[in-house]
């Protein structure tokens, strides 16, 4: 520990350390300044002890007590116990629904989750068969279609229920994990997408419109729920989200460059846009800002850039040098340099994430082992004969 020592004193690190400990533990400086004769320290147990309490009260009835709280964990407190010991749960007339929701989702164990997974599979199959049979008018298949429809509605209801359960459980948990919120938002979106076609059909809108078809197809997205349950895929999604977050500034810079080249493109190729030649293939590509933006993106993906450039060269009003400088500069900067910077950042991010995860895993493992070791020793001591207890008491005295 580096310390400050005035000129003329020798630098004694141990003396400094001991002095700091003294000052910290005994509030030496306050004592030496005469602020307190002896710094009183009481434990909670003493406060509840009647004799000590009397002594305290005899001293000064209006004295202030500063509490110095040190948490002490006897054993590991599980999340469930923590949730159960909240004030809202212990002091309300009726227990909140989130308790039951938590029980259903966790205590029934794999039963509920397996049931949901089975329903997801069933849903996918039902949708597939339904789409196949949608246009057929075979009357013998009518009961089949009916059962399929009923099954689809039933599955939808069960999903809704599960969504409400999860929501209820999460409502009680005020420690909102941003990762979970992401999944929650995603679930809600999907559910809403799958609910809307049903609701609209109920209201009576004709099912021929394109949007409705699209929304029905979105039901297929429900099967994506399945993927979110596997731990590995969750880790990958987490890694992707983190990588995207670190790359926000890069993407912002890329957007700025898109803007610059799009607006400049409109001006640079004014002659090309206004030209009256009939054989120009890409005539409308730089006509206004939106088209120019799309063209800039097309150039970014290196698609038909030489054809575009040769088309521009057909018009004599546009100077060849400036147009080629524009295109080549954008290709170099955007598609070659920027794209590789994005790849490099992704690689670096994934490496970082992998290193962090490994560190976390080893850290957890070490802690776990230390905890087990401690438990073992304490158990062994408690299992010893009373002679050991006698010997330890003699040591304390």
């Amino acid at each position: 520990m580096v310390s400050y020592h005035p000129a003329g004193h020798m630098h004694l690190p141990r003396a400094d350390a001991i002095r700091s400990r003294l000052v910290d533990t005994f509030s030496l400086i306050e004592h030496l300044q005469g602020l307190s004769q002896a710094v009183p320290r009481h434990t909670i147990r003493e406060l509840f002890d009647p004799s000590r309490q009397k002594k305290l009260m005899l001293g000064d009835q209006h004295q202030l007590v500063r509490f110095f709280i040190k948490p002490r964990h006897v054993e590991r407190i599980t999340h469930a116990r923590r949730l159960m010991s909240r004030l809202r749960v212990r002091c309300s007339q009726r227990p909140p629904l989130s308790l039951w929701a938590g029980w259903v989702l966790e205590k029934t164990g794999p039963l509920f989750t397996n049931f949901i997974i089975f329903l997801i599979f069933l849903n996918t199959i039902v949708l597939m068969v339904e789409i196949e049979l949608l246009e057929s008018t075979n009357t013998k298949l009518l009961p089949l279609k009916l059962t399929l429809e009923v099954a689809a509605w039933f599955i939808l209801l069960v999903f809704l229920l599960e969504e409400l359960l999860v929501l209820g459980k999460a409502e009680s948990n005020h420690n909102i994990n941003p990762k979970r919120m992401l999944f929650k938002g995603y679930f809600f979106l999907m559910l809403r997408q799958s609910l809307i076609p049903e609701v609209v059909v109920l209201v009576g809108v004709t099912s021929q419109s394109v949007w409705l078809q699209l929304l029905r197809i979105c039901r297929v997205l429900r099967s994506l729920k399945l993927f979110a349950r596997f731990r590995q895929i969750r880790v990958i999604i987490l890694a992707l989200v983190r990588a995207l977050k670190t790359m926000t500034f890069l993407l912002m810079l890329l957007l700025i460059f898109f803007y610059i080249f799009a607006v400049a493109g409109v001006y640079f190729f004014e002659g090309y846009t206004r030209s009256t030649r009939q054989d120009l293939e890409y005539h409308m590509f730089f006509s206004d800002v939106l088209n120019s933006l799309v063209t800039v993106f097309i150039l970014f993906t290196l698609d038909h850039w030489y054809a575009l450039l040769q088309d521009v060269w057909k018009v004599p009003e546009v100077s060849r040098t400036f147009s080629s400088i524009y295109v080549i500069l954008w290709l170099l900067l955007g598609s070659i340099i920027f794209r590789n910077i994005i790849v490099a950042m992704m690689v670096t991010n994934f490496q970082n994430i992998r290193n962090e995860l490994n560190e976390e895993m080893t850290h957890l493992e070490v802690q776990h082992k230390a905890g087990i070791f401690k438990q073992q020793i304490i158990q062994r001591r408690q299992n010893l004969s009373p002679e050991a207890m006698k010997s330890s008491h003699s040591k304390i005295d």
Binding site: F26, L253, H304, L331, I341, T348, K374, I378, A388
Partner: protein, 375 residues
């Protein structure tokens, strides 16, 4: 060099300079500048549309005057505050460059007349005004610092690439660009040859170019094209990616290390301040006590020690005073005791067995052994 600094050091308007500096560094100024630049960028976009330009031209003229005045005021204020160090910061140079770019269309119009064909190029460059926003965004600045350190590598790879293209361009021109039978369009002169090769390198539409060469029955064309595509697109551009990955990793690591170091230094400084205060208080105490009672620090501590009792509870947060440690320590001591007892028993056993062995020895040495046993 030296007298110039002395002249500027003797400026008497330090108060005004400090005021202007405070204004520039304040948040209000930042907000004004950011909103101005965003409005400017938006107007530049609107200005591209002829109809809107026609209808709102007065608004555009006024806004243009406003923006130019704001930018020049900012420039003047910053130069006024610190005329010499202003030119050392890259972002200030960017500001100056943008002011020059803004004045180009006006200058061109004055000098070359209203129908100069390259006027739209000068107008197009106005889109660069949005680069001023980078100064106000911390994240993009750090990103540019991190990425900018790879600039040398990028430049060298690009130069190598250009060299490769140059070699192949000359080769291609000689092979395929002959005036009569050759493909005049694509390999006729060096510039077109370069473009053709760049098109091959980015593998976009290269089959059409190859088709043209095939139509003219060139023998070597396929080998040429394939070798160049392998070298340029596969090897060079992939090498580019690899080099960028390594350098980005290095620069990001270095950057994070610098950040960590900075944070560490700030923490150490704070600790120093606290320690310094403690030391000062102690020495102050020693001084006052010396004046009054001629008691030294050790005597004071002795007096303090006398007020402590063995039954006083103390709150300590050492590792050695935590309950698990005490449990483990006591149980280790118990184990030690047990081991010592067991060892003692074993030694008694050993001595007993040896004694029995001695007693069983032949009677000639009985007297000696008895003496030994008695000892």
């Amino acid at each position: 060099y030296l007298p110039l600094i002395q002249i500027f050091d003797r400026r008497k308007d330090t108060e005004l300079r400090a005021f202007v500096q405070r204004v520039i560094a304040g948040p209000l100024f930042k907000i004004i500048m950011i909103s101005t630049i965003s409005m400017n960028a938006f107007f530049v976009v609107l200005w591209t549309n002829y109809k809107i330009r026609f209808r709102l031209f007065r608004l555009f003229e006024i806004s243009e005057v406003l923006f130019v005045s704001i930018y020049s005021t900012e420039f003047c204020m910053k130069v006024y505050v610190d005329p010499i160090n202003y030119w050392k910061d890259g972002y200030n140079l960017l500001d100056v460059l943008i002011i020059i770019i803004i004045s180009i269309p006006y200058a061109l119009r004055k000098i070359k007349g209203k129908h100069y064909p390259y006027l739209n190029i000068a107008n197009g460059m106005q889109s660069l005004r949005i680069l001023k926003l980078i100064t106000y965004s911390r994240g993009i600045r750090t990103l540019i610092i991190a990425v900018g350190q790879t600039a040398y590598t990028v430049a060298s790879v690009l130069i190598l690439f250009f060299l490769l293209m140059y070699i192949f361009a000359i080769l291609g021109f000689c092979l395929f660009g002959a005036p009569e039978m050759g493909d005049q369009n694509n390999w006729g002169n060096l510039a077109v040859a370069f473009f053709t090769l760049f098109s091959l390198a980015t593998v976009d539409g290269w089959t059409d170019l190859q088709q043209e060469l095939d139509d003219r029955n060139f023998v070597l064309s396929r080998a040429f094209t394939i070798i160049f595509i392998l070298l340029a697109s596969f090897i060079f551009l992939s090498m580019f990616v690899g080099v960028m990955i390594i350098h980005t990793e290095d620069s990001i690591k270095k950057f994070e290390r610098d950040l960590e170091l900075e944070r560490h230094m700030i923490l150490m400084e704070e600790k120093q301040v606290i320690l310094k205060r403690q030391q000062e208080e102690v020495s102050h105490l020693m001084q006052t006590q010396k004046n009054v009672d001629y008691k030294s620090f050790s005597e004071l501590v002795e007096n303090f020690k006398k007020t402590l009792q063995h039954t006083d509870p103390m709150v300590l947060d050492d590792f050695g005073t935590s309950l698990p440690f005490i449990d483990i320590y006591l149980s280790t001591l118990d184990n030690q005791d047990n081991t010592i007892y067991k060892l003692q028993e074993l030694y008694y056993e050993m001595v007993h067995v040896l004694r029995l062995m001695l007693e069983d020895l032949p009677k000639k040495q009985q007297s000696q052994s008895l003496e030994v046993a008695e000892k």
